[in-house]
Amino acid sequence: MTVRVQRDDFDIGAELAALSDGDTGIGGVCSFTGLVRDLHPQAGEGPGTVRALTLEHYPGMTERQLEAIEAEARERWPLSACLIIHRYGRMEPGERIVLVACASAHREAAFDACRFIMDWLKTKAPFWKLEETGDAGQRWVDARHSDQNAADRWSELPG
């Protein structure tokens, strides 16, 4: 079980290599990296609208939630290894926010588990995004219904 909540950036290549290192039963690793965007397509806003993001979180509960999500993924799929890294603090467009990686003997399990963790993380891990907008203002990002729907899909599966 590996969950890290940190201010600093991370090295994807090193993290993925470490994840599968020494376990030659692993057939595949699925990873997802979330990046800061400089726009909100949903709001019809063009590039340059978002100058930076600040990620606030709830220290303590964040780690507990991420560990619970990872434990649920390990219960649902046969994972050899699993990693969740989520940053907090101020980040500019293009910067990495989150890395989720799942290793398994089977690619189906790796894909499913990685997507499950991202979907649950989006609706359960206590992080909040504050955007710095082009007019020098700030605004809190609203939760998206599509994220809740994506998370809810997984509840219908046998646990």
Partner: protein, 84 residues
């Protein structure tokens, strides 16, 4: 005594990130606590006006508004999360 934590726009509306409070005897669950907090000032009333966008954690676990609160609890109030 309860330890209260506020995050994101609930924090900015209320104006402080955390506080320790002693609540009246009638406050036994989260709904009671929120009702009592609304009476503490305009910032609280505004932050807690629409419970559709307020999530609650007691001792770092999500709970419904019907969850009891007892002395020593850490109660966090925050908007739906937007990480990832």
């Amino acid at each position: 005594m309860l330890k209260l934590l506020y995050f994101a726009w609930l924090r900015t509306k209320i104006g402080i990130p955390e506080e320790r409070v002693s609540v009246p005897d009638g406050v036994t669950d989260v709904a009671d606590l929120i009702g009592w907090l609304r009476g503490r000032g305009d910032g609280y009333a505004e932050a807690l006006a629409n419970l559709d966008v307020v999530k609650v954690a007691v001792n770092q676990e999500y709970v419904p508004f019907t969850h009891p609160v007892v002395a020593g609890d850490e109660v966090a109030l925050f908007p739906p999360v937007t990480g990832g």
